[in-house]
């Protein structure tokens, strides 16, 4: 492509200026978007929509008996969505699915726009605060009442409640989980045996010792992705944070509680500890160029001892390297300390303007209460279903990673150590705050203190408005 500016620049510049002036004139007329006077009460702001209507008519919301097609927008790369929706259609043949899949990053960026323009019935959402503030998600409280979700352990739904100011933990329910995940450290049993690690480390010191041993034996101690737009070092960092800081304080920050800060002495210690690991060479030298997929393929290929990751990979690992993988929770500072873990529901919301909210809510209830659905959830998804504490659990062969991650869930529940993920604090805190700073920390261009300050500053600009 090329061009030649034509022969009479003088005249044409005048034309161009005119055009530009026209633009400014136009701009002066009215701003884009809905005018501020009539904007703020679309559907969803108002909890008394269809759910209330249908439950008022007696009986719980359902999919009815007529043919119905649910629109859904899910995340690529995880078989659980297909497994659950297929099973649902088997039990309720009148329900068909129209499912669109996208990468998580793309889905995150598209969610607000899709919800505003073309609202699906069910949508995988990363972070409820902004979507709820913009009235794009349906308030699920009426359904919670109708289906009895309000009688489940309150901690399960807490992270999906959003108050008017956008802070999470209290307020109306804006999403439901398909299950809830558990994160920790996966280890390669063969490599562990090689360096004499017979049981998982019980304290952070013991973990440090194992890491040093692996390094000395020429084994990559930790394979962890930290490349592109997703800094996976957030996993070990947050695990270390929970050793030095009570999980509830970390949650306050993630849930945008007033005055919360990530820049605390405890978290500085955690970041310094991570920096020690980096300096000791416990990570692959190309971590800053590694994506999630590469990390998985390297771990599966037996190229590293540890990987910080979540139980959504349990089923996959049981299939790809059966019997060869173990899992343990991040060891606390002292052996009798509290075990904490990032543990968040696989959040699914219902569009504020969805066409079939009742059926969508019925599906979400079914996922967590139906026997087959819970079996699929555990066997395919690898994670613990939501629901009452005494609900049905499918049998899982012992010795599998799935069994270990599920058991770890009980420990975390007992220790009250569940945390949301620090990357979910705001819509772009991951990409604009954590990722660049963790990449700089890895490259030795950022200090632990500087990183936390920078992330806190980014957090404040985002939560500020």
């Amino acid at each position: 492509m090329s061009f030649r500016v034509s022969r009479h620049p003088g005249k044409q510049w005048r034309a161009a200026t005119l055009l530009a002036a026209g633009g400014l004139l136009l701009a002066a007329c009215s701003g884009p978007g809905p005018s501020s006077s009539s904007s703020s009460t679309p559907a969803g702001a108002n909890p008394s929509t269809s759910a209330a209507a249908s439950s008022a008519g007696g009986g719980t919301p359902s999919c009815g008996t007529g043919p119905i097609t649910l629109d859904a927008y899910f995340e690529t790369g995880f078989p659980i969505y297909k497994a659950l929706t297929d099973e649902f259609s088997k039990q309720f043949p009148n329900v068909k699915w129209n499912i669109r899949y996208d990468q998580f990053a793309a889905l995150t960026s598209n969610a607000p726009r899709v919800l505003a323009s073309d609202p699906p019935d069910l949508i995988r959402i990363p972070q409820e605060s902004e979507l709820a503030k913009d009235h794009l998600l349906l308030n699920l409280d009426p359904y919670a009442k109708a289906f009895g979700w309000d009688k489940w352990p309150t901690s399960q739904l807490q992270s999906m409640r959003v108050a008017d100011d956008g802070s999470r933990g209290t307020g109306p329910l804006y999403a439901m989980g398909l299950n809830y995940s558990m994160t920790g450290i996966f280890y390669n049993k063969e490599l562990a045996a090689k360096i004499g690690m017979t049981s998982p480390p019980q304290t952070l010191d013991e973990l440090d010792a194992v890491l040093a041993k692996a390094k000395a034996a020429g084994i990559t101690p930790i394979v962890q992705f930290n490349g592109g737009a997703t800094g996976g070092f957030a996993f070990p960092l947050q695990n270390l944070m929970a050793d030095y800081t009570p999980p509830s304080e970390i949650n306050d920050w993630i849930w945008q509680k007033k005055g919360a800060t990530i820049d605390t002495p405890g978290n500085v210690k955690a970041a310094q500890h991570l920096q020690e690991w980096i300096k000791e060479g416990y990570f692959d030298p190309d971590a800053n160029a590694m994506d999630y997929a590469t990390m998985m393929s390297r771990f599966i290929a037996g190229k590293a001892l540890f990987m910080f990751n979540g139980d959504w990979e349990s089923g996959n690992l049981d299939k790809q390297m059966p019997g060869k993988v173990g899992f343990f929770l991040m060891p606390p500072l002292q052996a009798d300390g509290v075990h904490a873990a990032m543990s968040t529901p696989l959040t699914i919301g219902i569009g504020a303007k969805a066409k079939h909210p009742d059926c969508a809510a019925f599906f979400l209830n079914w996922v967590n209460t139906n026997k087959q659905a819970r079996t699929v959830d555990v066997q395919v998804g690898g994670s613990h279903p939501m629901g009452p504490a005494d609900a049905y659990m499918p049998p899982i062969p012992s010795g599998t990673v799935t069994a270990q991650t599920l058991a770890a869930g009980n420990v975390v529940a007992h220790d009250n150590g569940a945390m949301d993920f620090i990357a979910n604090a705001t819509g772009s805190i991951y990409a604009k705050g954590w990722t660049p700073n963790l990449q700089e920390l890895f490259a030795g261009r950022q200090t632990p203190e500087g990183m936390l300050k920078a992330v806190q500053a980014e957090y404040e600009t985002e939560v500020g408005h």
Binding site: G23, G227, Q439
Partner: protein, 288 residues
């Protein structure tokens, strides 16, 4: 009179499309750049604040600097190397080998940029071909994950661009050279000019126009780069490869800062014109 009217009628459909899907959106970009808007809710008029932000925000400023650095790789290297190669192969331009080569070296220009990005992400990975070759030459100590390295990520992206554009520039310049009257070269040789002097005295001046085209195309490719960055680095590590094109996309669609994205878009357009207009003026053919 009728003829003028008919002329405008012929141009009307093209003008209609252009106005509807280029000019009007362009005016909207100008308009949005004066507002603070999340793309969904109501907007607030903020005057030139978004533009001021361009200069105060280090990430955005850095993205523009990065784009300028990319010009070295996307533009200077392909044009310089292209000149060198074209003048070396000028004499064998009619051979069968050259005919075959013409087909081959144009391929990077034909494939999608995203494909080039995927291919090179793989070549530049820690166990990719680039490191394999370096190690084979005993340079194992310089091997690294090129796209994840703060110092080398931007040059690596630049190399991808250079690979894509080198063939185009070489062929364009070669085509220009074959149009030069061989007698001028003969005359220069008779005057005792070596290849170097011949190049500066004969080839370069005659290629003004072709060089102008090459520089124009490649500078736009550098300043407006998006596809390669999206696939290979997404602006990382840190913000080492952040460019305006990707920053606009990210601001508008992830951070939902439509006003800032639009201001940056306007800035990018002005930047492109600031480069292209002088190039066009300098390399314009003298009036026929």
């Amino acid at each position: 009179m009728a003829q003028h009217l008919v002329g405008w009628l012929f141009a009307a459909p093209a003008i209609a499309f252009y106005v509807a899907f280029v000019i009007i959106p362009l005016l909207h970009t100008l308009q949005y750049s004066l507002y603070r808007w999340d793309g969904i809710g109501p907007s607030t008029y903020v005057g030139l604040q978004n533009y001021a932000h361009l200069f105060s925000n280090s990430t955005l400023l850095k993205s523009i600097l990065n784009a300028l650095k990319l010009i070295v790789f996307f533009s200077v290297i392909p044009v310089a190397l292209g000149l060198l190669i074209a003048s070396t192969i000028r004499r064998i331009a009619a051979s069968r080998l050259a005919g075959f080569a013409r087909v081959i070296i144009f391929i990077p220009q034909v494939i999608p940029l995203v494909a080039a990005g995927i291919i090179w992400s793989w070549l530049l990975a820690s166990n990719g071909l680039v490191n394999q070759v370096l190690a084979a030459f005993g340079l194992k100590h310089v091997t690294r994950a090129w796209l994840g390295d703060f110092t080398f990520a931007l040059p690596s992206v630049g190399v991808i661009g250079a690979w894509v554009l080198l063939g185009l520039c070489t062929l364009l310049l070669l085509a220009g050279m074959t149009k030069i009257d061989p007698e001028i070269y003969e005359a220069a040789r008779l005057d005792g000019a070596g290849p170097v002097r011949e190049f500066f005295a004969v080839t370069l001046p005659a290629l003004r126009q072709e060089i102008g085209v090459c520089v124009t195309v490649t500078v736009i490719a550098a300043l407006a780069s998006f596809d390669i960055i999206y696939i290979s680095t997404q602006g990382g590590p840190g913000n080492a490869t952040m460019v305006p094109g990707y920053a606009i996309y990210y601001l508008a669609f992830f951070q939902r800062e439509v006003g800032q994205a639009s201001a940056l878009a306007v800035g990018l357009m002005i930047l492109v014109l600031l480069f292209i207009l002088p190039i066009q003026w300098l390399t314009r053919e003298r009036k026929r």
